[in-house]
Symmetry: D2
Subunit: 285 residues, 4 copies
């Protein structure tokens, strides 16, 4: 997307005149619409739109925001306006596996996730502290005490709240996120599941895939809901495998899928390209 | 796309206010915008838009068309408005190879290409007359006399003109289309080339691919221009191959690519999803 | 594969010396091994091999067969030797949907399935009689009487037995194959399921896929077992979809997958490239 | 592949009896063949084979090697026997771009490249010294003096020779490897080119791809020869793009392709799965 662009995400009950009204308002503010994508879900009677626009040098995004709030109320819109000046604040939660974490860190290193800011990485294991430190990112080791994850979960939540995190990335984080956190961070927690959901939901998907003898393995990035592995799907991809691939080969090949699919989903979120409705997403790319 | 929808394709120099103006006009006519996709090519300063809309039962597309012509002139728009009531008229040109032709015919059989009408099939060989006849489509055998294709080309052109053909599909048609026909049917002739263009342009691409030892073969559907294999690309796909595949295996596997990629490009054209600019396409799907 | 080649498929408990013994026997008969692929499943302790070989002009496949039977007994081999002189006999069962049937018929037309012979097509609906007739293949309309499919199933079975069919292709055949037929035609009935199994097993997979909001749809060709949609998977592929695709678009796009994946599985079977073990396949391509 | 397995790669003029002879020798040494793949290129009259085998605990690979040398001479074989005890020695050459380097380093971190040893990383720029140091790998900054790369090339060559490097990985290394080094390290230098070769060979492939308006971009890993971008292709993959992707987006998406394709090629090489013949590879996976 354009480096100096703002994005506007809209979802509301469909009715005539929305496009004209929104376009009219942007024109008033001398905005230039760089890219727009709009979709109506006829079954749900739902209007979905993403607009990417630039303002003239002397334009003020605050003015757009204020005026838009007026329109939005009339159309019962859920909406989100984001500008380059308010970068998304991100945190990564992880566990033993390191490939997704290492991949995300090196994307931040080369500026691929700009302007989003990576606030911290937290893990129930101390292993990755050194790696994260090398990238100049704060690392928090938050152990799980025995069988009771509640203290861990509370500490993670506190970290997220304290850092005013906008997006939580679960980079092979093997813990359950409690419903209260899911609720508050609704559509703001992205998980990577190492299968082509809904196939092989739950534990050990590569073992399941091997037992079933599938010819493709997959990975799925989705928003986390209180139903495990059931949240709205953001991105999926697959890779060809064969009878020659044992569990270890599936895991090895799968890692390439997982890290690429997770990163793709994170970028789509950071570019404000995802609208959720019902338990589905519209990816306006 | 919606069965009763109209589509509007627009391309023009970019400037503020286009979206608002078009949306305003559609609102006046009580049109409901089902889907809209808009893109600005910053390098070219070009605005591109596709709008799919429905009118209320008592609405009149002629009114929309008339009013729109006024706007269009002001914005220097190239535009196209199509309704379900004016189905696209299609002809297929072919030669010896039958897989693309057979595939297209069976798509027309099951209604996949509706509401487009298949007017005729013509070939420089008589072979496929029976097949085409079984599908209830007129077949014209237009031989090439010796080394001089000019009479053949003229006859094909006359057939196309007489049937007021909107789209010519080259389904493995091995003849050169003369510049005069290319000019008149600009962006209305779709060819399938059996390689991942620009790799292996020209003759015998599977032989070239085999000699080079590539690990993927491809197929490319493109609009025909006077530069052979150089026209704007509409759709491409690839398939994995290996050292075990000889020329015959490449041809066999390639056929599956060719027919699927050609059909995809034809559908995109029939749904008015393709805008060309420079030597490229924007596919607004 | 080579046009004059024979293929040998072997599966047996793994132990040292199998490769040397088989290679020695072929050498004695002056066979030239064109291609060989061998795999040991360590978990199952299973040896799997496919050999493609040619004999000299004065060689006799019967001699190979006889001698091989001796070796095979010693190693407890399940094996299959096929030559070009004994072409596979195939029948297609279908129902309303025509895309897989039409595609298979045109593949036979252009010689892609040679040397396999298509003996007949049977359907519970009369619709496709004309289409099949045009291709010069016998068509049998075998209706299902009310709710009781048993007479239909028995008639189909009789047709298959009478024609000494080696392979039954279920080309969107919506009937259940009774266990007795599944047993006799074990690993000789190929079905196409219009999802990426095991996701969306059962009825209406495109509706299921749409409801779940997946970003890829798939198709799966598998051998039929008495467990519905649970048989050994032969081939799978997927296609990218989005929120813009309604059920109709999913069906349309899915048809391209279904026909290509089914045809690929049939070719793998006809080339004797598939070994089943447990509920899985090794595809030795 | 099996953790304790040895691999044997063979290529020689095709003639009867090779398979039997090799299998017989392995049997004598009580080797168990875990996986074997064999291919005859009929056009070239070339026999190619890869065998993966294990020896019993008291077996000696030296004995196999010695005996095999005898057979090999008789059949005019080019061959390579590798065991887990002699790990491949690898070096990475790089320049400004960091994604391929960072990706390879993290693969070594998690053991994915075992048992291969990463000896050093060298670059014409000092930038990545810190990154490489964090992974505990020696880093050599070898600057290019003005327009004359010969001192740089000589120093790189000396480093490789001194460390007895078996494989050189060009991870977006933008320098030309001189013919003398190419000759000595024949089929032991792997480069990643950021296009689907042979399309867009040479400089700035993403600019070329953008100008041509392709719908897929690719990446190609190949062995380096003295002809730039013309060496034997090992692995290729592609990714879907659209008119919405500018040069920057192509680069960003392309990075995911480049690193995955390069790593795949390196793994294939390390597992001794690649045989080159003419200017092509047989990948026996």
């Amino acid at each position: 997307m354009e480096h100096n662009a703002s994005t506007l995400l809209i979802s509301c009950p469909d009715r005539p005149g929305i496009v004209a009204e929104v376009a009219g308002l942007l024109l008033e503010h001398r905005a230039n619409i760089v890219h727009a994508d709009q979709h109506v879900d006829r079954e749900e009677g739902l209007f979905l739109q993403r607009i990417e626009f630039t303002l003239p040098p002397d334009g003020a995004i605050e003015g757009v925001e204020e005026d838009f709030a007026g329109i939005a109320a009339g159309f019962e819109m859920a909406w989100k306006l984001r500008t380059r000046e308010r970068p998304t604040r991100v945190a990564i939660l992880t566990s033993h596996e390191t490939h997704c974490l290492a991949d995300l860190l090196s994307r931040w290193d080369i500026g691929e996730m700009e302007p989003a800011r990576l606030m911290f990485v937290a893990s129930n294991h101390p292993d990755h502290g050194t790696l994260v430190g090398h990238h100049g990112i704060p690392f928090h080791h938050v152990p799980v005490a025995g069988d009771d994850p509640s203290a861990h979960s509370a500490a993670i939540r506190e970290l997220a709240d304290d850092h005013e995190v906008d997006l939580l990335i679960l980079a092979r984080y093997m813990q359950i996120v409690p419903p209260s956190t899911v609720e508050v961070y609704r559509n703001r927690i992205i998980n990577i599941h190492h299968s082509f959901l809904p196939a092989f939901a739950g534990a050990r998907p590569y073992h399941q895939a091997h037992a079933r003898g599938v010819k493709l393995i997959g990975a799925t990035a989705h928003y986390v809901t209180s139903q495990l592995d059931e949240g709205p799907i953001i991105a999926q991809d697959v890779l060809r495998v064969s009878h020659r691939d044992g569990i270890d080969e599936l895991k090895q090949k799968g890692r390439d899928l997982e890290k690429v699919v997770l990163a793709r989903a994170v970028r789509l979120h950071l570019d404000d390209r995802i609208l959720t409705y019902g338990n589905r997403t519209a990816v306006l790319d």
